[in-house]
């Protein structure tokens, strides 16, 4: 088992942790953080993979991911803040007027 295997494992664990955070938490901010963790887990896997294949494109991808994540967080936070301002809640499940 090469190093990359352990790093991938780390990435998976991080992904699971992020996923669990998304699943379990009701707070919008925390869910967002969970998503970020998942994205970063992917980044780690990319790094491990580029380690395995000896190619740089995986690592390059990580930079893209960072940019994307930043954009996403910016938009997301703006949305959440706006919503919180309107309805006074950042509990995900209070947003349930649309259903059925």
């Amino acid at each position: 088992m090469a190093v990359y295997g352990q790093v991938i494992l780390l990435g998976m664990m991080l992904f699971v942790i992020g996923g669990a955070c998304v699943l379990i938490r009701r707070n919008l901010i925390m869910i967002l953080i969970g998503v970020e963790i998942m994205l970063n887990a992917a980044g780690i896997v990319f790094i491990a993979a580029s380690l395995r294949w000896g190619a740089l494109d995986g690592q390059a991808f990580v930079i893209f991911i960072m940019a994307v994540a930043a954009a996403e967080v910016a938009v997301g936070l703006a949305l959440i803040v706006y919503c919180q301002g309107r309805s006074g809640s950042i509990n995900a499940d209070t947003y349930n007027t649309l259903k059925g």
């Binding site: 998304v22 699943l23 869910i31 995900a92 499940d93 947003y95 349930n96 259903k99 059925g100």
Partner: protein, 636 residues
């Protein structure tokens, strides 16, 4: 020949069409004249055709109606002595009835409809009479049913009349089913629908098939000719105007059944079973009709049951294998029954639509001698008093039955002669109650004066009266010095086999027996129903009341129909509609559709609106997909 026959059939049709299309635009006078002219011209054509044919058989095709491969339906006629004779009778009696109708319907608003139907009726009957192709014959056969429907229910404002028409149409159509099946079988077996062809090749039929045909045709004829068990429509058919009753009972409609049997005689004559069935049906009906006629209080119903009874005799004649006798009786019956009905019509007319015989009496005899005498002639003929026409024709039937092989036929003969006595009894019961003694209802006497019917009504009675008495000359037995003209004339009719010499002893004995029996019946009638008769009352007291009701209601046959056929049929319709169609099938389909709605409601809950649930499903879905992949992977 062809144009004559064509005109013979077309005249009434054109008359009917004229009334239908233009009747409302022209004067009443025109409509009446056109209608009468249609039938009278037809009668003249029939005379010419009769004269020029000279007893030969002719088959003339007018044109092809339709044709699919060998299923070819032609509009063609077979003009043979049987048809010629029948056509003469039909047109002659119908002509008189038309003329009579002009007077009878003088004040009725619906005269256009009336004459239209009447003409079409005659046309349809002529089609039955002449047609060679069975489907063409069926055209007339159904046409008669339809016209009778219209005429019986002519005064449609009263639902009872309309229902009577409906009943007639329905019951005759139940008979038509058998006719239809017979047509189908003929087509199957012979690949032809021509009566001539079928009769000519009837020898290829096995006895079993012949029996089948016999029964089918019997059933068909029973519908039209009101034989048991399809007889119930005829008494109700009295709902129509009286000339219509005369037309239906005398010359047209009801004789169609018998005529059909005679026309297709070779098809079943080889089967003793079929013949026996026909004979039995005839005999039973004759007896049944006579019994029922005995207790009726309505002048037309008496005559109606008498018609049923007399038609039974004709069936018996066919069943006994003597269609000449059958035809003979058909013709004489046409004369005297038309006469009786028309006379009854005069009576009814004179008393302002009064049909209850117990409201009549000797005032009628005094006021209407012109009706009284013809009626008496008709009654005598119906009672088969010698030497009226009815005597000879009925006698011939009795002789044939008596001489027919088998003890069974002797038994039928016995019932037939018993019925003859009953016939005389009910006929003269009617005659005595209507024309002698006092009316049972005095209080209304003053209100109703007797109105003299128009002369053209009375006038038509006389020729019929003469014929009722002298038509026997047509086929006077040898013993009476006659040459049996009709028998000679019918010699070549398929199936009308000559019956060999009739022993003189039988002939004479039979004549004496019927004469005695007839006279005996009349004497009984005098004592029971004469001016001072014992039973001259509309009902009977005590224990006899039940019997009286039984006879008056004609053995409750009508009630049985209603109770066991009509009512369940309607009930079943209701059940099928409400229980099966609506609540069963339709609702079943709806509940099937509603299960989808139910699923939909359940699935709707899935979209709960809660983000956590959605996220959960996202990961659930991921898990499921991974599991699926894993399973695939491990299987492959």
């Amino acid at each position: 020949m062809k144009p004559i026959l064509l005109l013979l059939m077309l005249f009434p049709l054109l008359g009917g069409l004229f009334s239908a299309l233009f009747g409302r635009r022209v004067s009443r006078w025109t409509v009446e004249r056109v209608a009468c002219a249609g039938v009278i011209l037809s009668f003249i054509m029939a005379l010419i055709a009769f004269d020029s044919s000279g007893g030969k058989h002719q088959i003339i095709t007018f044109f092809t109606w339709f044709q699919v491969a060998d299923f070819s339906v032609l509009m063609d006629v077979r003009f043979d002595p049987l048809a010629a004779f029948m056509a003469l009778t039909v047109t002659f009696v119908s002509s008189l009835i038309h003329i009579y109708s002009v007077g009878y319907m003088k004040h009725d608003e619906g005269y256009v409809r009336y004459f239209c139907y009447l003409n079409l009726f005659v046309f349809s009957m002529l089609v039955i009479t002449l047609a060679d192709n069975l489907v063409f014959l069926f055209l007339g056969w159904e046409g008669v049913g339809f016209c009778s429907y219209g005429l019986i229910g002519f005064w449609y404002k009263d639902m009872k009349n309309a229902s009577a028409g409906r009943k007639a149409f329905l019951l005759t159509r139940i008979g038509d089913v058998a006719f239809g099946i017979a047509i189908g079988l003929f087509f199957l077996i012979f690949n032809s629908l021509s009566i001539t062809y079928i009769n000519g090749h009837a020898d290829i039929l096995t006895p079993g098939t012949m029996t089948l045909f016999g029964l089918l045709l019997l059933w068909a004829a029973a519908g039209k000719s009101a034989q048991l068990p399809l007889s119930v429509w005829l008494p109700d058919a009295m709902a129509g105007p009286t000339p219509v009753s005369a037309l239906i009972h005398a010359a047209t409609m009801v004789t169609a059944g018998v005529y059909l049997l005679m026309r297709l005689f070779p098809v079943f004559s080889g089967s003793a079973t079929a013949m026996a069935f026909i004979a039995v049906a005839g005999t039973l009906t004759a007896f049944y009709g006579a019994c029922a006629a005995l207790m009726q209080g309505d002048i037309k119903r008496v005559l109606a049951y008498s018609t049923i009874s007399q038609l039974g005799y004709m069936f018996l004649a066919v069943g006994a294998g003597n269609i000449t006798a059958g035809m003979f009786h058909l013709v004489t019956h046409a004369f005297f029954k038309a006469l009786l009905f028309l006379a009854a019509g005069c009576v009814i007319h004179a008393l302002h639509e009064e049909q209850n015989i117990f409201r009549m009496g000797k005032k009628l005899r005094l006021a209407l001698p012109g009706v009284y005498w013809p009626f008496l002639a008709g009654a005598a003929a119906l009672s088969a008093l010698p030497p009226t026409a009815g005597f000879f024709s009925k006698d011939e039937i009795l002789i044939s039955t008596f001489l027919h092989a088998g003890i069974f036929y002797k038994f039928l003969w016995f019932i037939a002669i018993l019925t003859a006595a009953l016939t005389a009894l009910y006929t003269f019961r009617l005659f005595f109650i209507v024309f002698t003694g006092e009316s049972l209802y005095y209080e209304e006497e003053s209100e109703k004066s007797v109105e003299k019917p128009p002369p053209n009504m009375i006038a038509t009675l006389w020729p019929l009266g003469v014929l009722a008495i002298f038509a026997g000359l047509l086929n006077l037995p040898a013993g009476w010095g006659g040459g049996g003209w009709l028998s000679e004339y019918f010699l070549n009719i398929p199936g009308a086999a000559h019956h060999g010499e009739i022993p003189h002893s039988v002939e004479n004995g039979m004549a004496i027996a019927s004469a005695v029996i007839g006279i005996f019946g009349i004497i009984c009638a005098w004592f029971l129903y004469g001016p001072k008769g014992l039973l001259r009352r509309p009902d009977l007291p005590g224990a006899w009341g039940g019997l009286f009701d039984l006879l008056r209601e004609a053995f409750y046959l009508d009630w049985l129909y209603r109770r066991y056929i009509a009512w369940p049929f309607e009930k079943m319709a209701d059940i099928l509609w409400n229980r099966v169609d609506r609540e069963g099938i339709d609702r079943g389909l709806y509940s099937f559709a509603n299960t989808f709605m139910l699923f939909s409601q359940i699935l709707r809950e899935w979209t709960s609106g809660r983000l956590s649930g959605y996220l959960f499903m996202l990961f659930m879905g991921l898990t499921v997909i991974l599991c699926l992949l894993a399973i695939n992977f491990s299987i492959l």
